[in-house]
């Protein structure tokens, strides 16, 4: 009876997940997604190998990415419902039905975990592994698939155990802290944590490696399922009235729309810190990329030109933060036009995003050094690319930039348009350094064109989205 019930739950959760993704990926487009994943995976691996990256380093990085994906998937399942609601409206998943059905939250969570493992292993991780065939790693594909699936499960198990323990108040947090301290002590004592992950099995398959990899996954899963308390609630949060004082400081915000946007960002998880934090990740990655490009090309890249171009990409994450906790519906109740709403997002973007990106740009050029002319043009490029990405994102995705991540066609269009703007700049920055005056003038002109195109796209986006929203 219990086995039949769990099987039925598994089938329904699997169906639910499939329909959720089919809806997110635009219905029939979802059928093409595994193929898209395989092609992107193969392309990325081929590019890395062609660039001289060691295949073993590539597979290690691949495991790390899948682990991060697992961590993220675990959080979507349990705490990321607000983000999903932004995309799909009110969302109720079977995993949360312990309050309405005679099912224990432990059984629901256990089946949810198994469902995730099977679902993602089949539809995402298998195509990704097949992508490695393109670089002659065919002999290891089955092993790779098994170890990245286990790595994905490890990521989910870590998140679930952490979230489950956090629902148990101080005792739960104490256990969590104890586990973190124990792991830290083991690491400082010379214990290699990678030896307890599925990647160790990929590196050197043996029964012992399998046991060492499986035990943490099982232990963390059991811990998560045993301690998760679905009835836990967080206390109500209060705040003093900040609206009028903020609006008074923002002299350009007569209608209060910018103030509302900024308050949304400030009050949601992570506050304003999440803007420089997400930009900081890109900053660190881009510093590494610039170094790598220097080693591969044998020429010191132009720090200012390269970083100006790459940091332009932070426009997307900033716009994402500005719209993540907002919905267009609330504005349709008031005498304000869509032009005013998008215009406020633009001003909020200029307030939050541009100074953040310029700040990291200043750190990069101060840290690594760059000729004055390149610094000036790099800054202009940064501003031009930020405007371009902002306009492009608003034009393609309107108020829901997250949809890029779930719509194959939109994502491909966005990627192509970004590449068209940024790749020529990166080639100059990576290969033609030090950049001569003619090339610098051309880059400054390109920045102006991109900035103009961004503003043009943003202006055209307003009537486009007005027509769409009002058509229903």
């Amino acid at each position: 009876m219990a086995g039949t019930l769990s099987r039925r739950l598994f089938v329904e959760m699997f169906r639910e997940e499939f329909r959720l993704h089919a809806r997110l990926f635009g219905g029939r487009r979802f059928a093409a997604f595994p193929l898209f994943v395989a092609l992107v995976g193969a392309g990325a691996v081929r590019l890395l190998v062609e660039a001289g990256i060691d295949p073993e380093a590539t597979t290690a990085g691949f495991h790390a990415l899948v682990f991060a994906f697992g961590l993220h998937t675990g959080s979507i399942g349990l705490v990321g419902r607000d983000a999903m609601r932004d995309l799909l409206g009110d969302l109720t998943l079977l995993v949360f039905s312990a309050r309405t059905l005679p099912l224990s939250s432990r059984r629901l969570l256990g089946v949810f975990l198994v469902k995730d493992a099977v679902y993602y292993a089949a539809l995402f991780l298998a195509p990704l592994s097949v992508g490695f065939l393109a670089v002659g790693l065919g002999l290891h594909v089955a092993l790779l698939w098994a170890t990245i699936t286990a790595t994905f499960l490890l990521g989910i198990a870590v998140t679930m155990a952490a979230i489950a323990l956090s629902t148990r108040g101080a005792p739960g947090w104490s256990v969590l802290l104890g586990l973190a301290v124990a792991a830290g002590l083991a690491w400082t004592a010379g214990v290699d944590p990678v030896g307890f992950t599925p990647y160790a099995v990929y590196e050197a398959p043996s029964l012992g490696a399998v046991v060492r990899a499986v035990v943490p996954i099982v232990a963390l899963s059991v811990l998560g399922i045993a301690t998760y308390d679905a009835t836990t609630t967080s206390p109500s949060r209060t705040a003093g009235n900040a609206f009028e004082s903020w609006r008074a400081r923002l002299w350009f915000d007569a209608d209060g729309l910018v103030t509302k946007s900024l308050l949304d960002v400030a009050r949601s998880s992570g506050g304003f810190t999440k803007v420089p934090f997400s930009a900081g990740i890109l900053f660190l990655v881009s510093v590494g990329m610039v170094d790598l490009a220097g080693r591969l090309a044998g020429v010191d890249p132009s720090i200012a030109v390269s970083m100006g171009a790459i940091l332009g990409l932070t426009a997307f994450t900033t716009y994402n933060w500005l719209t993540q906790f907002d919905a267009l519906g609330i504005y349709l109740l008031y005498p304000i036009s869509l032009r005013a709403v998008f215009g406020a997002k633009f001003r909020a973007f200029l307030v939050l995003g541009l100074p953040t990106a310029l700040g990291y740009f200043a750190i990069a050029v101060a840290w690594r050094g760059s000729p004055a002319g390149e610094v000036a043009v790099g800054a202009v490029l940064l501003v031009g690319l930020q405007l371009y990405l902002f306009g492009l994102t608003v034009y393609l995705a309107g108020f829901r930039p997250n949809e890029f991540l779930f719509d194959t066609v939109l994502f491909a269009a966005f990627t192509a348009a970004v590449a068209a703007g940024i790749v020529p700049v990166l080639i100059v920055g990576f290969v033609l350094a030090p950049v001569d005056a003619v090339a610098l003038a051309a880059l400054a002109l390109l920045a102006a064109v991109l900035g103009g195109a961004g503003v043009g796209l943003y202006r055209r986006a307003v009537p486009r989205w007005r027509r769409r929203y009002r058509a229903g």
Partner: protein, 247 residues
């Protein structure tokens, strides 16, 4: 004086016809309810009347404005309480009302007085500084009711006004709406709650499959007549059939 006039409204979503030739008028000072089963087209009607949606065909006039051509002007003159929308998650009710006041161009001092009055009327004064995301559904509904009336509009569109409210607050809202109409204002209500329509509305339009299929003044119902019978006659439903089906 006519507050709302529609003629031949039509709206489709792909293969689904939400409105098919919907025509009606509402006079100033009426408390008019659009009553209909789920999916009859009530919410679509409100969204067209307030300029949120554009009809595929037909004409519409709301307090001397054309919501299709000048949605911002229409929304300046009316109040809107939608069925599904929640107040912004990370603002408190007090901050949200300041925001509403700023987009509607209201003076801060009288606005604050109105907020206090409404919070007292709907019993949520102690929640004015709690983040909206941490309010219950009923408390969020109270906040949304308040925002619809802050600028004292002559016409208010309300989609399911009593959803999630406790009985005491429901009664207060019903009494307020009746008083509001008595003061010469107009209320356009969308509901599938027959008791509410019968109790407080001066006229009820029954909509089914996107068409107006009946109209009735609850105050003119004869002895032994009920709005429920009129509704069932109009939409072709039967309680007995439903009961048998569930037995």
């Amino acid at each position: 004086m006519t507050a709302i006039r529609t003629e031949g409204l039509r709206k489709t979503y792909g293969d689904v016809t939400a409105l098919a030739d919907l025509s009606f008028t509402v006079e100033t000072g009426e408390l008019f309810a659009l009553l209909g089963p789920n999916g009859a087209g009530k919410t679509t009607t409100i969204e067209i009347l307030t300029g949120q949606l554009v009809p595929d065909a037909g004409t519409v006039e709301v307090v001397d404005t054309d919501p299709t051509a000048e949605p911002v002007e229409t929304r300046r003159r009316v109040g809107i309480l939608p069925e599904q929308e929640s107040p912004p998650s990370f603002l408190t009710p007090r901050e949200y009302f300041d925001f509403v006041g700023s987009v509607r161009g209201l003076d801060p001092a009288p606005l604050r007085d109105r907020v206090e009055t409404w919070a007292e009327r709907l019993s949520y004064t102690e929640k004015l500084d709690t983040l909206n995301t941490d309010l219950s559904r009923g408390q969020q509904q109270k906040v949304m009711i308040t925002q619809a009336f802050l600028h004292d509009p002559d016409l208010v569109f309300i989609d399911e006004p009593l959803a999630n409210l406790d009985p005491i607050v429901q009664e207060r809202v019903k009494r307020f709406l009746a008083r509001y109409r008595d003061d010469g204002n107009t209320v356009f209500l969308s509901t599938h709650d027959i008791d509410v329509a019968e109790e407080i509305c001066s006229r009820v339009g029954i909509v089914s499959e996107g068409r107006l299929v009946g109209e009735r003044e609850p105050g003119a119902l004869g002895r032994g007549e009920s709005l429920l019978d009129t509704f069932l006659d109009s939409v072709g439903g039967s309680i007995e059939a439903t009961a048998e089906a569930t037995d």
